[in-house]
Every structure is written in C-alpha cells, then in structure tokens.
C-alpha cells in the first residue's frame, strides 16, 4: 500500500499540530530577535569605533590611540583649513608657527590622545580581582561542598551567597567606599577596587565551583580515601584538578562582568584622569597597591556624560567601547585556552 492513499497512520491537521508549529516559530523568532539585537549592538560599536581605532594608512591601527594618555582636542582654522590637534601637538604648533599665537581654538576635553592608561588600569583591575575572587571563591566552594556538614547552617550560607548575586553594583561600590576606602583607610586604590570587584563576582564563582566539584564522580573520592589519603590529599590530587575546567569557565563570565562594571570602581579605584601610569612614581612596593587607576568603563562614562557631547567626544566614546570589547574578548580567550589545556590534561 503506497503512502499516498489514506491509511491509519495518515497525518491529519489538528489543533495540537498547529500549536506545535506556532511554538516552533515563536522560539525561532525569539532566538533571531536576540541574535539581531546582539549584532546591532556589537555592529554599531564596531562600525563607529573602527573609525577611531583603524586608520586608512599603514600600520592600519591608530597607534597613538592605544599608547597615549587622553588630552584635550583643539579645533581651529588656519590658513583657511580646519585643523584638529591634540594638546601637545597644538603647543608645539604654536611654538613653530609664531603667527598662530593669536588663533582662537575650540577645545574639547578628552577628545584627543589615547586611552592607554585606561587599558592598563582595566587590565590590572581584572587580574587582581579575579585572583582574589578565584582564591576566596574556590576555597569557600571546597569548604561548602566537601567539608561542611550539610544542614541548616550550610543552606543559609548558600542562600546568603545567592542573595549577594542580586545586590546592585552601585551598592557594592558604596560598600567598598565605606569599608575599604574610608574605614580601612586605603583611599581610592587598586586594593579597594580589587576587593570590591572580587566580592561582586564571588557568588558566580562559588556557585560554579560547587557545581564543578559536585560533578566529579564520588568514586574518585572513595577510591582515594580507601587507600589511606586524608580528605585534603584526596581533594588536592583527585578532585580539584578535575573540577578546574568548570571553575575556569565561570571565571570567563566573571571577567566580563568585572571588566565592565563602572559603579563599583567609581568610588573605590578609578580616577577621572591621572597623569602617571601605575608603574611610575612609586617609592615603595605598597605605593603600587594603594594608587588609583583610570579604567575603560569609567572613561566611557566620563566622556559620555560628564562633559558636553559633540562629534569629537563621540569618536572617543565608540573607540573606547570598541577597544574595551576587544580587551574583554582577549582576556576571555586566554581563559578559554587555559581551560582547554587543563581539560586535556585532566581528562575524565
């Protein structure tokens, strides 16, 4: 009997079938809407930012943008031509062209120069806070899942940690301000920023680490203990290495968050402008930790809302945003590479 004649397994239109179709299209549309939004947002930043970041001549990258500190932009007419120059260049120009001394130039703050100090500051903030967050977070996760007696107290602790994840980042900023900057008298410093950002990302790290530790089979622990290992020996040799890839995956999410948050660092670590780079002007080792830095997200905020907006500031905004995305992607890529290496080494 050929399938074209009517038979008992014949497919028939029905309400269930229509709903199935509708559901499929709903989910598909939702996914594509999200994809389009993502493309639009990233596309917008990449498109506008690349005007600042890339140049038409070799070496095709706007190197001064990456290597210089922000400075004011001067726009003026000279011999019928509209010229734009950064602060240093303008002063040198005035020195070499004495007749130009009287020229009135419009100045735009932070619209020239580069964002090198911001890049350095963000990288330092991310590295320091992730080291602190991973150390504290993994230790807490090991305690909660391996050592602590499961009961009311541990459930309450986990609940408290989850609640921490819902705290607004500005509240973290105020917490950091109150505890680290004022009470511990660290002032606006890398240390204060590190700890504030670390506490902000701690819930994610702890939860993901606990999940990774739980995923390691019980047989590894039992086998190790049955051979006469202590609990810590078992965890160190037979559990933690196999949980590391999962822990590092959580750190990738943490990195993106830590790099992008403005509110926690606004009061605790970031300066609007600083003329020294973090390794300049240090007299003692502790000077390095107790200095504030410039940071990319804060710079975007300053350039976007603290100063008058015009076409020149827009350039810097998008350029900074573009660079910021690239840096987060780079750090995340390093984390992924490290995770894959560990996954291959500790395969189970």
């Amino acid at each position: 009997m050929s399938p074209s004649t009517r038979h008992e397994f014949q497919s028939r239109p029905s309400a269930a079938r229509r709903w199935e179709s509708a559901a499929l299209w709903l989910f598909r549309t939702a996914t594509y809407v999200i994809l389009i939004c993502g493309v639009l947002v990233f596309g917008n930043i990449v498109f506008k930012g690349s005007k600042t970041v890339f140049t038409t001549t070799a070496p095709f990258i706007n190197v001064p943008f990456f290597t210089e500190a922000p400075e004011s932009l001067y726009v003026f007419d000279y011999q019928g031509q509209k010229r734009e120059m950064g602060d240093r260049e303008f002063r040198a120009f005035k020195a070499t062209h004495p007749e130009a001394k009287e020229i009135k130039a419009e100045s735009y703050v932070y619209s020239a120069g580069g964002i090198f100090p911001c890049i350095v500051g963000t990288v330092l903030l991310v590295l320091g806070s992730m080291i602190i967050a991973l150390t504290l977070g993994v230790s807490a996760a090991v305690y909660l899942s391996e050592y602590a007696k499961q009961g009311r107290a541990v459930t309450l602790i986990r609940l408290a940690i989850l609640n921490l994840a819902g705290v607004p980042s500005i509240v973290f900023g105020l917490f950091g301000l109150g505890l680290f900057v004022i009470y511990l008298d660290w002032n606006v410093s890398l240390l204060a920023g590190w700890f504030t950002l670390a506490f902000m990302v701690l819930p994610v790290v702890i939860t993901a680490s606990e999940e990774s530790l739980k995923a390691v089979p019980k047989g590894f622990r039992e086998g190790s203990l049955a051979l006469g290992a202590t609990k810590w020996q078992t965890i160190r040799k037979n559990v933690l290495p196999y949980a590391l890839p999962g822990i590092l995956t959580s750190s990738i999410l943490g990195i993106a968050r830590v790099a992008g948050e403005t509110a926690p660092i606004m009061f605790t670590a970031a300066y609007v402008v600083r003329d020294k780079l973090p390794w300049e002007g240090l007299t003692t080792v502790s000077d390095f930790f107790f200095q504030g830095v410039m940071a990319l997200p804060y710079h975007i905020y300053v350039v976007s809302s603290k100063i008058p907006q015009n076409e020149y500031t827009e350039r810097v905004q998008y350029g900074t945003a573009f660079v910021f995305l690239v840096i987060v992607a780079l750090i995340a890529t390093c984390s992924i590479v490290l995770r894959n290496k560990l996954r291959n080494r500790y395969k189970w």
């Binding site: 499961q150 047989g219 190790s224 051979l227 006469g228």
Partner: protein, 275 residues
C-alpha cells in the same frame, strides 16, 4: 596479650610493621555489633570472626546489610552523616577500630577496598598504582617501578599493560579496570582486602579472571568478599556468612553452608527459593 595499638599514626609517617598471627587465627573480631543509619538500624547483634589468610564471603539478598558490614571494617561508613556503630566492637588484632585513639588513615592503609563499580583514577596506569605509595611519601623512581610491576603481576594484569603503563587507566576494558583497582589496592600491601561485589559489573570472562585472581591473592592477603552471586561464593571462599534483614543467620565453612546448612532460612536461600 597486651598489644600496642598499631593503628595510631606513628610520628615518622612510616607504618609500624605488625607481627602476623599464625594462619587460621582470628584477624577481625566482630563482637555484638549494631549499626545505625541515623535512626534506622541496619545491623542487629552481629558476631563474626574472620580468619587470617582466608577468603570469607558475605552472602544474602539485597538490603540485608552485608555491604554495610563490609564498609564498617575500614570505616568507610564514616563518610556518611549520621551513621554509628553501637553496643559492640569491631576489633582487628585485638584493637577496637572505632576507638578514638585510632587513626582512620592508618586503618585504611592496612585494610584496603575494591569497589563494586571499578573506579580507576583518570590518570595513567602507573600513576594509579603509585597513588597510594606517594601518599606514604615514597618517591624513589626505581622503588615505585618495582612496586608497580609487582602489583600488576599480582593482579594478573602485567602482561596486558606492560607496554602502556603511561596511558590512561580509563582506556582499559571493564575487567582490566577492576584488576587495576585490585592492583592499586595491593600496592600499599594491606593485610585485608575488602571486595564489595567486585564482579557484578563484569562480563563472565572477566569474572573468571578476577575469581582466579582472588584464589592467588589469598595466600598473601585476608580477603572478605561481598557477593550477590552464590555460585561465586561457593567457588571462591573458604568460609561463608549468610545475612538476612540485618542479622547474621549462619556462618560456617563454605562447604557446610552450601551442602549442609544448619538453618532453614540458609537452606532456602542457597537453594534459590528466595533472594
């Protein structure tokens, strides 16, 4: 006889050597032991003497407490919250292993275990076997090499893996993995090897190999094996203990249990009328 406890951790980190008792004497004395999982009682008044350098089998239907008792012997039940041994003692060479002065780590070095589901570590075969030795601080390469060969030969696995000692233990077949776990257990030279249904996850050919291995090992180690498979107990063991609902029903020479059981329940179980 006043025996100095040999399960307390010696200051040097090395195990204190123990003079073995003559063959046929009691190594493990389980004396009026009750066992509780929280509020529910899993073992009732167990009295059992396990003899040295013999294979003792625990048989019985599911849930009768045989695995529970086995795990008491190396205190693996301590890992579960709320468990306790009450009203009796488990003595190994006269020392109560639940005494507070006993170091569980030292106990587990002397009483090894092979699990039902083989659990080779996801390391190389070599590292699996040297795991227990490194815990004891032994790191001399030639020493470790010698022990690895001895253990793998002892587990009848040497010929099959001698060319790939540094490949992953997970790449072996099920039967080989279980023999690797046995090799790992004997590498630390325990006195007792506890086997919790070691062949239940293995195919018949691998099962035969492991049973032959048990026969070879009994000359050097005291073996306690829990098994669901009565025929396996009949083949492998010298003495058999039949458990039912947390009670020890009968304990005698294997031949007696299977040919001529004294208890009606034992007879019903070994002849297959229930279980």
């Amino acid at each position: 006889m006043d025996i100095k406890p040999s399960f307390t951790a010696p200051p040097s980190g090395r195990s204190i050597p123990v003079t073995p008792s003559p063959v046929g004497s009691t190594l493990i004395d389980i004396d009026h032991v009750d066992f509780f999982y929280g509020a529910s009682q899993a073992l009732h008044d167990i009295n059992l003497k396990i003899e040295e350098k013999k294979v003792t089998a625990f048989i019985g239907p599911s849930g009768c407490g045989k695995s529970t008792l086995l795990r008491c012997l190396n205190r693996m039940n301590d890992l579960i919250d709320g468990t306790r041994v009450a009203n009796g003692q488990i003595k190994i060479r006269g020392i109560d292993i639940y005494d507070p002065s006993v170091d569980v780590i030292e106990l587990r070095k002397r009483v090894g275990m092979v699990f039902q589901k083989s659990n080779p570590f996801p390391k190389s075969i070599y590292e699996n076997i040297t795991y227990g030795l490194r815990l004891q601080g032994r790191s001399n390469k030639s020493d470790l090499d010698a022990v690895v060969e001895k253990s793998l030969r002892g587990a009848a696995l040497w010929d099959e893996v001698k060319d790939r000692l540094h490949s992953s233990g997970l790449g072996l077949s099920g039967g080989q993995q279980q023999r690797l776990c046995i090799a790992r257990a004997i590498a630390v030279e325990p006195e007792v090897i506890l086997m919790d249904e070691p062949c239940s996850a293995l195919d018949p050919i691998a099962t035969v190999k492991v049973e032959e291995l048990i026969q070879e090992l009994r000359t050097k180690f005291t073996i306690v094996i829990v098994t669901h498979n009565m025929q396996q107990a009949a083949r492998c063991s010298d003495k058999t203990a039949f458990f039912y609902m947390g009670k020890l029903i009968e304990f005698a020479d294997t031949r007696a249990i299977f040919m001529n059981p004294a208890n009606a329940q034992t007879e019903a179980y070994v002849s297959g009328r229930f279980g």
